[in-house]
Amino acid sequence: MATDHLSTTFAALADPTRRAILARLSQGEASVTELAKPFDLSLPGVSKHLKVLQRAGLITQGRSAQWRPCRLEVGRLKEASEWVGEYQRFWDESFQRLDEVLQDLIKEEKKKNDGKGSQDNAQD
């Protein structure tokens, strides 16, 4: 099920360098050397990160001989973002409704208080 992918995806995303690599790849494909440059990492160091990302299905690496470009695979990221999105949708909508309920309550109380004339704000 999606859940297993999600664990792998989230584990791969748990590292800031790997997220930076993904952010770079979201602008277009890049070679391993290009990816290593901004990170002060050795090529084997970058390769290790790339392997994790590849295993999680987040990127693929081209086959063409020397310049084996890395490419972002949006499917898995989409799945992860959909997962987060579903939870957010539930609560965003709930909180929006809660806000409406609260504003109605505030209005009601105001009306009640105004009706009574000037009184202190104490409520039970």
Partner: protein, 171 residues
Amino acid sequence: MTEKGVRTMPKTEYVIEPGKQEIVTTTVLDAPRELVFKAYTDPKLFAQWWGPRRYEIKIDKFDSRAGGEWRVIHKGDDGAEYAFRGVNHDVVAPERICATFEFEGVPGHVALQTATFEPIGNKTKLVAQIVFQSVMDRDGMVASGMEEGSDESMERLAELLEKLSKDKSGR
């Protein structure tokens, strides 16, 4: 971003860290905390806001005292019902509600949720923490409600990355 109403949506922050068993949700509501607490503990009010609008909500049990049971059912347009239940462990007016939570569709996976209400002037900071029994439970719960994929999800991709960066970077 504003919806069609006059008011803007409460701004909510979600912290869902990779490999953890919890989700922490923080929002600021424009109302005193006594009212927020009331909206959480009065079944008539609760039924007006909990969950997406597209579900009809039915309150089966709602005993807002420590030890009291709650059971709430969401009914979709297609007639499908989703029931949730639990027990209120601790209800401290107007500060905190701590309760168990179980989706009856996946029985046996019980989470513990704690909502705390903190006054900020006339507003209320609401922090809702939900702790699952395992990382799989956490990731699975929401995945089970994922059937209706959305097209806007690509937009959230950047947000997701940004959020995850915020959670972990610099540690």
